[in-house]
């Protein structure tokens, strides 16, 4: 946990925001509100793309630390949310590039969830869903999650992943096609749950 936090580079946020005269640090109260609103969805995203609760914890902390470490010009919740997702995605990408734990220490992500789920999906099916998703490449998981869960636009996804906006639809198409092939292979037909 500490290794990610230690790797935080606060200059990034500082350089981005200190030029703005209106930039101010988040107060404790503002931070707690922001955390209550965005931490759970951000953690769910990180959990699904890393497949690992410990990495999701670390990356969540890193994203919020970066946000808090320097003055910011906006208090707009959606902009801050986009910033948090972008920062967390960059940190996750760094982790993958370093050959990080995300590829080695995958957890059986949905076993507990399956036990506590209120609707009628079976344990095995839920575990399979998460496992199938994890068979995609990290970038594909990020693309699909941002597009279909977060509802991010192509421009926003391109900014998050450092891609050209024009290439996002093509990559999304390929990621969906790959996922569909995996679903067919695993026996998930249309309409199956």
């Amino acid at each position: 946990m500490a290794d990610h936090a230690a790797a935080v580079r606060v200059e990034d946020v500082g350089a981005q925001t200190q030029a703005d005269a209106r930039a101010e640090l988040l107060t404790d109260y503002e931070f707690r509100e922001l955390y209550a609103e965005h931490a759970r969805p951000l953690w769910a995203y990180l959990f699904r793309v890393t497949g690992n609760a410990a990495d999701a914890d670390d990356l969540l902390q890193e994203a919020f630390c970066r946000l808090l470490a320097a003055p910011i010009a906006t208090r707009d919740s959606s902009q801050l949310r986009a910033y948090l997702f972008r920062t967390a995605t960059n940190a996750a990408t760094d982790l993958w590039r370093r050959g990080g734990r995300g590829t080695r220490r995958q957890e059986p992500v949905t076993e507990d969830a399956a036990v506590t789920a209120s609707h009628g999906e079976t344990v095995a099916l839920k575990r399979d869903m998460a496992r199938t998703f994890r068979e995609l490449k990290p970038q594909e998981r990020v693309l699909l999650w941002l597009a279909h869960v977060e509802g991010s636009g192509h421009g926003e996804i391109a900014g998050t992943l450092g891609l050209k906006p024009a290439s996002v639809p093509v990559l999304l198409f390929r990621a969906r096609r790959k996922l569909a092939a995996l679903l067919r292979k695993k026996g998930y037909g249309p309409g199956e749950r």
Binding site: V10, L67, F133, L144, H148, V149, R176, R177, L179
Partner: protein, 165 residues
């Protein structure tokens, strides 16, 4: 053959993910286009996965994150404050080396002649009878060697000190 240029695809995927019913033309296209059906199936799967409740995992304590961020800010301020000092270390080293080079250039002839006197003296002392050398040359040589050694050690100390910080 799968196509990614179906004009209807973005609308179909968006509506499906949002849980909206497709209008008649889009529904007709979806029924006739296997590529779009496959795309919709994958998008709907991701949406279903997101809707699956996660294990009740406790999130990191926000108070700890707040505290870490304060610490990071302090480190950042410290680094900004010490940056000019770090730069000065390099300037010091460069100035020292430049002075040494200037001294050597300026006193080169004196040093060379002193060296020429001392070296035969050392060779002679190794063979048998010691011959007296010029006392000033010995002093210059010892002083020069000592100053070079001190500069080298100082530079090494600063370098190691800088990396360990």
């Amino acid at each position: 053959m799968l196509r990614h240029d179906c004009a209807q695809l973005p609308d179909i995927v968006e509506a499906t993910v949002a849980g909206r019913a497709l209008n008649a033309p889009l529904a007709a296209h979806l029924a006739s286009c296997p590529s779009c059906r496959e795309q919709v199936e994958a998008a709907a799967f991701v949406r279903r996965l997101a809707d699956t409740p996660d294990a009740p995992h406790p999130l990191p304590d926000p108070a700890v994150i707040w505290w870490k961020a304060q610490l990071l800010r302090r480190w950042q301020a410290e680094r900004s404050a010490s940056a000019p000092i770090e730069r000065m270390h390099w300037i010091e080293l460069a100035a020292g080396l430049a002075s040494l080079a200037a001294f050597l250039a300026w006193q080169w002839k004196t040093l060379a002649s002193a060296l020429a006197q001392v070296i035969p003296m050392s060779l002679a002392s190794m063979t048998a009878t010691p011959a007296p050398g010029h006392p000033l040359s010995s002093v210059l040589l010892i002083g020069g060697a000592a100053s070079v050694a001190i500069m080298f050690l100082a530079a090494l100390h600063r370098r190691l000190g800088g990396t360990s910080r």
